[in-house]
C-alpha cells in the first residue's frame, strides 16, 4: 500500500492562499488507510483552511470531497465537471493521483497536499513501515523475504556493513539492521548457504533508473498500441 503524510500546513497554505475557490480532494484508497488523505482528512483540512482564511482575512471558498481513487479514469470522469468548477484542487492522493489528475483536469492546477513517502505495511494500528521500493527486479527469494534495497539505508547487497550494532542499524536504534534480519531469517529457514552463491550484478535499468515505467496487460487493453508488444 502507498503511504503518504500530510504536508505541514504552512506549506499547504502557501500553495493555495492565492486561489479563491479550492477543492480539497481526498482519495479513499491507500492514503485513506494511513489516515492521511481519505475523505475524512480532506474534510478536516478544509475546516483548517477556513479557520486560517478567516483569521488572516483571506477570502477563500473551500470545499471537500473524496474519490474512490484518483489514479483511474472512471472515478475522475464521474466527478470531472464538478472538479472543473474550482480554481485549484488540493489533492490528498499520493503523487500518482496528483500526476494523473493534473493530466486530465485541463488548465486547473492540482496541488499536492501529501508527501508520498513509501510502499508500506501496517505493522499495527497507526504504524506504517516501508518494505519495498518497487525496484523492478525482485530478489526477496534470495534474502529470506526481507528486502535489503528498501530496508537497508545503504541498499547494500552484501551486508551487514560495519555499522551493524546488536541487530540495529548505525543510523539509529529505531531502525533494525536489514542484513541482521536477513541472516537471522535465512538461518531459521535453513537457507543461509544461498548467500554464498555469487549473484550477477543487478539490472538497475528495470528500476526507476531506466526511466518511467509502463506496463501493458494486452488481454484487457481496449486500444492497440505500437509500444505494447516491445
Amino acid at each position: 500500500m502507498i503511504v503518504g503524510e500530510q504536508k505541514p500546513f504552512e506549506e499547504i497554505w502557501n500553495m493555495i492562499r492565492q486561489y479563491r475557490r479550492v477543492l480539497v480532494l481526498g482519495c479513499n484508497t491507500c492514503v485513506a488507510v494511513c489516515h492521511s488523505g481519505g475523505e475524512k482528512e480532506a474534510h478536516i483540512l478544509s475546516e483548517v483552511i477556513q479557520i486560517k482564511a478567516s483569521s488572516t482575512d483571506t477570502s477563500i471558498e473551500v470545499n471537500h470531497m473524496g474519490l474512490v481513487r484518483q489514479c483511474e479514469n472512471e472515478y475522475i470522469d464521474d466527478a470531472i465537471h464538478n472538479l472543473q468548477t474550482y480554481e485549484a484542487i488540493l489533492s490528498l492522493a499520493c503523487g500518482v493521483g496528483v500526476n494523473f489528475l493534473s493530466q486530465k483536469i485541463g488548465s486547473i492546477p492540482v496541488l499536492p497536499g501529501l508527501n508520498t513517502t513509501f510502499y508500506g505495511s501496517v505493522e499495527e494500528a497507526g504504524v506504517f513501515a516501508e518494505m519495498c521500493v518497487g525496484c523492478g527486479d525482485c530478489i526477496l527469494h534470495l534474502t529470506g523475504g526481507i528486502c535489503p534495497i528498501a530496508r537497508c539505508p545503504k541498499s547494500i547487497m552484501n551486508g551487514p556493513c560495519g555499522g551493524t550494532n546488536n541487530g540495529k542499524c548505525e543510523i539509529g536504534v529505531d531502525t533494525d539492521c536489514a542484513w541482521y534480519l536477513i541472516i537471522q531469517r535465512m538461518k531459521a529457514l535453513g537457507i543461509l548457504h544461498l548467500l554464498e552463491e555469487i549473484q550477477p550484478p543487478r539490472d538497475w535499468s528495470k528500476s526507476f533508473h531506466g526511466g518511467p515505467r509502463r506496463m501493458f496487460v494486452s488481454h484487457v487493453m481496449l486500444n492497440k498500441r505500437e509500444d505494447a508488444n516491445k
Binding site: P8, F9, E10, G26, N28, T29, A32, V33, H35, G38, E39, K40, E41, H43, I44, E47, V48, Q50, I51, K52, S54, S55, G66, V68, V122, A125
Partner: protein, 692 residues
C-alpha cells in the same frame, strides 16, 4: 397511530448497507405488542427531553400513563441487559418520563385535523375499545363509545386496584382520547338499554369490545349461599363503586392462582381480613406474574400451592371453611391444562368468606336482539384476519376475541382492528399496522464478559405495614438522579454502527478499535449488530466516513452543531465556549449562558473533525466533559485524549493556543452523584477561566 411514526426510518441519511445488514428491533421494542421505541425514549430521558420521550410513547400508545403503572412489561423480560446484570427498569422509566411531561401533555392534547363524515360506535371502553376510538378519531371518524358502567376504562377503571393504578393516571389517558372529539354514552348496556340492531342502523360500523366481564364460578358442594363472592363483581364493588367499607369476614380464602386472584387477595387484605390463597399450581406454575406474587407474600398473604377446592363447609348456612384436595399434576404431557387430583389427601382451611377467582368469560348480553351468531360450540363467529364478525358492519376487538391477556395486548389488538375498519370503510389499501422486522440476537458471551455490570436502580415501594392497611399506590417513582442513572444502563441495542459499503475500503480501523469485536472485515466491513454496543468509536475513526449509526445520524448531528454555533445570542458580548458532554451528565440547565452545550450519548462518537470545526465559528474554546469513571463503554477516555492531542497538533499550525481544547475529567471525588450538581458547573467554570 400515525403511520409516519410507526415506520420511522432508522437513519435519515441514505446509506448502502450489506444485504445481511437489515435494521433490527431491539428486543425491548420487538417484544412490546405495540413496538414502543423503548430505546429512543430512554435515550431522550437521559437527555432531559421528556416531552419528546412522552411523544415517542404516545405515538403508539393511547394509554401511556396506565401502562406505566400496570403493564406487564414484556420489554423488560426481553432486555439484553438481563443477561449481564438485570434488565432496565423500563416501565418505571416510562412512568418517570410521562410524569415529567405532565404539564406539556395537558397543554398538548392531539386533536384530529379533519373529519371524514363516517361514524363508528364502540361498545365497551376498555383498553381495546379506547384504542379503536383513538385511532379512528385520528383518522377523522366520528366515534361514540357506549359503556355499561358510569366510568370509562373497562377493567382498568372498574377492577384494577387503585393501589396499583391510581385513577388520575387513567384519567390523563382518557382525557387525551376525549380531546380527540370521541363521544361517550355512559350507563348504557347494549342488549338491554339499546340494541345492537339500533346501533347498526345509526352507524357505519360497530365494534364490540366488551371484554371478559363475567367471572367463572365453581361447581362444588356448598358454593351456593352467602359468603361466596366472585372476583370481578367484588373488585368492581370496591374500586368502581369506591366501596372501601366493604364488609368481608375475618378470614378470607381466595381460590385461584392468576393475577386477578392476587389482586383480590391483596384487596381483601387491605379491607382488614386475614387472607389465604388456594391454587392448583406450584409456585413456578402459577399464571400470576412473579413480582405480583412477591408483593402479595410481602403483605403476609399465605399461598397454599397444589390444592384444589373440594367443598365449602357450612353450618347453619354460615361458611366454616374450605375442604381442599391434593393436586397431583396441573398440565398433561402435552402441556395442556388438565389437572389431576388425589381425592384422598385433603386438608381444611377455616374461613368465613370464599372469593372465587378462576377466570373470566364473555358476558353475552350484547347478543340480545342482534344479528350476531355463535357457532355450535357457542363461540362467537368472526374472521381471524380482520376480526369482522358474521355481520358486515360489526367488528370485534380486545379480549372478547383474543382471550385473557394484558392491557397492552388489548391495545395492540385495538390498533389492528382500527386498521381493518379503516381499510374496509375507505376501501383503502393502506396498511396501518406496525412494521414487523426481526429482533437483534442475544449479546454474545464474549461481549457480555466485557460489559461493566451496573446494578438496576430499583424504585422504592411503600412500607409493607402501611401497604396492608391502605389503598395508597405501592410504587413510589424515581427521583431525577435515579432515573438518569437507570436510563444510562441502556445498551442501545440495534442502534449501533452501520457501514456504507460504497465508502468502506476495508482498512481494518474499525475492527482494530472496537472493544467488542463487532466488525468483520472482508471486502468491506460489516458490523455485527448483536456485538455492537453503540459506543461510536468506529464512527469517529473511520477514515472514509463510511460508518454511521442507526441510532444517531452523524451527518445531521454535525449540522445541528453548526446550527447551534451559528445562532446569535445578543445577550452574550464575548464569543462563547462549546461544551461537548455525555448526555448522562444530566447538566444543570443553569449552565452559564456563554457555554453552548452539545450533549451526545458518548464522547467516543466525537471525531477530531468535531473538535476542529467549531473553531470556524468565533468560539473561545472547546470543552469536553465525558462521564469518566461511570462510563458504560470501554477506552473512551484514552481515545478522547488521543483525538484531542491530534486536534491540538492541527490547531497549533494555526497558532491557536493548545489549551483552547480542554477535557474536563471529573472524578467522583470532585463530584457527587447529584445531577444538579453545582460542583460540576464550578468545575466547568474553572476550566473555562483557564482558557480566557
Amino acid at each position: 397511530m400515525p403511520k409516519e411514526i410507526l415506520d420511522k426510518p432508522f437513519m435519515s441519511s441514505q446509506i448502502t448497507t450489506d444485504d445481511n445488514d437489515k435494521p433490527v428491533y431491539s428486543p425491548c421494542r420487538y417484544e412490546c405488542p405495540i413496538h414502543t421505541d423503548v430505546q429512543r425514549y430512554i435515550h431522550l430521558i437521559s437527555n432531559a427531553k421528556y416531552e419528546e420521550a412522552f411523544e415517542t410513547i404516545r405515538s403508539v400508545n393511547p394509554l401511556p400513563s396506565t401502562c406505566s403503572y400496570i403493564c406487564h412489561h414484556p420489554c423488560e423480560n426481553a432486555c439484553r441487559r438481563g443477561k449481564i446484570d438485570a434488565p432496565l427498569a423500563i416501565r418505571h422509566l416510562k412512568r418517570y418520563a410521562i410524569q415529567k411531561a405532565t404539564e406539556y401533555r395537558k397543554k398538548n392534547r392531539l386533536r384530529p385535523k379533519q373529519t371524514n363524515g363516517k361514524k363508528v360506535a364502540i361498545i365497551g371502553s376498555g383498553p381495546s375499545g379506547l384504542t379503536v376510538a383513538s385511532d379512528l378519531a385520528d383518522l377523522g371518524y366520528g366515534v361514540t363509545i357506549y359503556e355499561k358502567f358510569s366510568k370509562l376504562g373497562g377493567i382498568l377503571a372498574l377492577a384494577i386496584p387503585t393501589y396499583r393504578l391510581p385513577r388520575e393516571a387513567l384519567k390523563e389517558d382518557i382525557d387525551d382520547i376525549l380531546a380527540k372529539g370521541v363521544e361517550t354514552v355512559l350507563n348504557c348496556e347494549v342488549g338491554k338499554d339499546i340494541s345492537l340492531k339500533d346501533l347498526i342502523a345509526k352507524y357505519d360500523t360497530v365494534v364490540v369490545a366488551t371484554g371478559l366481564m363475567k367471572s367463572r364460578n365453581l361447581n362444588i358442594p356448598g358454593i351456593d349461599g352467602q359468603g361466596v363472592l366472585l372476583a370481578i363483581p367484588f373488585l368492581i364493588d370496591v374500586f368502581s363503586n369506591d366501596n372501601r367499607e366493604f364488609k368481608l369476614g375475618k378470614r378470607v380464602v381466595v381460590i385461584g392462582g392468576g393475577n386477578v386472584a392476587i389482586d383480590v387477595a391483596r384487596t381483601a387484605k387491605r379491607l382488614g381480613s386475614d387472607v389465604e390463597m388456594v391454587c392448583l399450581e406450584a409456585p413456578d406454575e402459577m399464571p400470576a406474574w412473579s413480582w405480583e406474587v412477591d408483593e402479595a407474600t410481602q403483605e403476609d398473604i399465605k399461598i397454599n400451592h397444589r390444592w384444589a377446592p373440594k367443598e365449602i363447609v357450612r353450618k347453619d348456612g354460615i361458611i366454616e371453611g374450605l375442604v381442599v384436595k391434593r393436586v397431583t399434576s396441573v398440565f398433561d404431557s402435552n402441556g395442556r391444562f388438565n389437572p389431576e387430583y388425589d381425592e384422598h389427601i385433603t386438608d381444611f382451611i377455616s374461613a368465613d368468606t370464599v372469593i372465587v377467582s378462576i377466570g373470566q368469560t364473555v358476558d353475552t348480553t350484547f347478543l340480545n336482539d342482534s344479528p350476531l351468531i355463535v357457532d355450535k360450540q357457542g363461540k362467537l363467529v368472526f374472521n381471524n384476519h380482520d376480526y369482522l364478525s358474521n355481520h358486515p358492519k360489526i367488528f370485534y376487538s380486545g379480549e372478547i376475541v383474543t382471550g385473557p391477556g394484558s392491557a397492552v395486548s388489548a391495545i395492540a389488538h385495538g390498533h389492528k382492528v382500527a386498521s381493518s375498519i379503516h381499510q374496509r370503510l375507505n376501501d383503502s389499501k393502506t396498511d396501518l399496522s406496525f412494521v414487523e422486522i426481526d429482533k437483534i440476537g442475544d449479546i454474545p458471551e464474549t461481549v457480555r464478559n466485557v460489559i461493566k455490570a451496573r446494578p438496576r436502580i430499583s424504585i422504592s415501594l411503600l412500607d409493607t405495614n402501611i401497604r396492608k392497611k391502605t389503598f395508597i399506590p405501592v410504587e413510589i417513582g424515581y427521583d431525577d438522579a435515579s432515573a438518569l442513572r437507570e436510563a444510562k444502563r441502556c445498551r442501545g441495542c440495534g442502534g449501533g454502527a452501520v457501514v456504507d459499503i460504497r465508502k468502506c475500503m476495508a482498512c481494518m480501523t474499525c475492527k482494530r478499535i472496537c472493544p467488542y469485536d463487532a466488525p468483520v472485515v472482508s471486502f468491506y466491513s460489516r458490523i455485527r449488530q448483536e456485538y455492537c454496543q453503540a459506543c461510536g468509536l468506529c464512527v469517529s475513526t473511520c477514515p472514509s466516513k463510511a460508518i454511521s449509526m442507526r441510532g444517531m445520524d452523524v451527518e445531521s448531528f454535525r449540522k445541528d452543531v453548526i446550527g447551534l454555533l451559528s445562532e446569535k445570542n445578543s445577550n452574550i458580548q464575548t464569543p462563547p465556549f462549546l461544551l461537548y458532554t455525555c448526555i448522562t451528565q444530566g447538566l444543570n440547565p443553569e449552565i452559564p449562558q456563554d457555554i453552548k452545550v452539545v450533549s451526545l450519548d458518548c464522547l467516543s462518537r466525537l471525531d477530531v473533525l468535531d473538535i476542529i470545526t467549531p473553531f470556524n465559528y468565533a468560539i473561545r474554546g472547546v470543552l469536553l466533559l465525558p462521564c469518566n469513571d461511570d462510563c458504560k463503554y470501554h477506552g473512551v477516555d484514552y481515545w478522547l485524549k488521543m483525538k484531542v492531542l491530534h486536534a491540538k497538533k492541527i490547531l497549533s499550525s494555526l497558532s491557536i493556543p493548545q489549551d483552547c481544547i480542554q477535557i474536563i475529567f471529573n472524578n467522583k471525588s470532585e463530584l457527587s452523584q447529584n445531577i444538579n450538581d453545582s460542583s460540576l458547573n464550578a468545575l466547568i467554570q474553572r476550566h473555562k477561566e483557564g482558557l480566557q
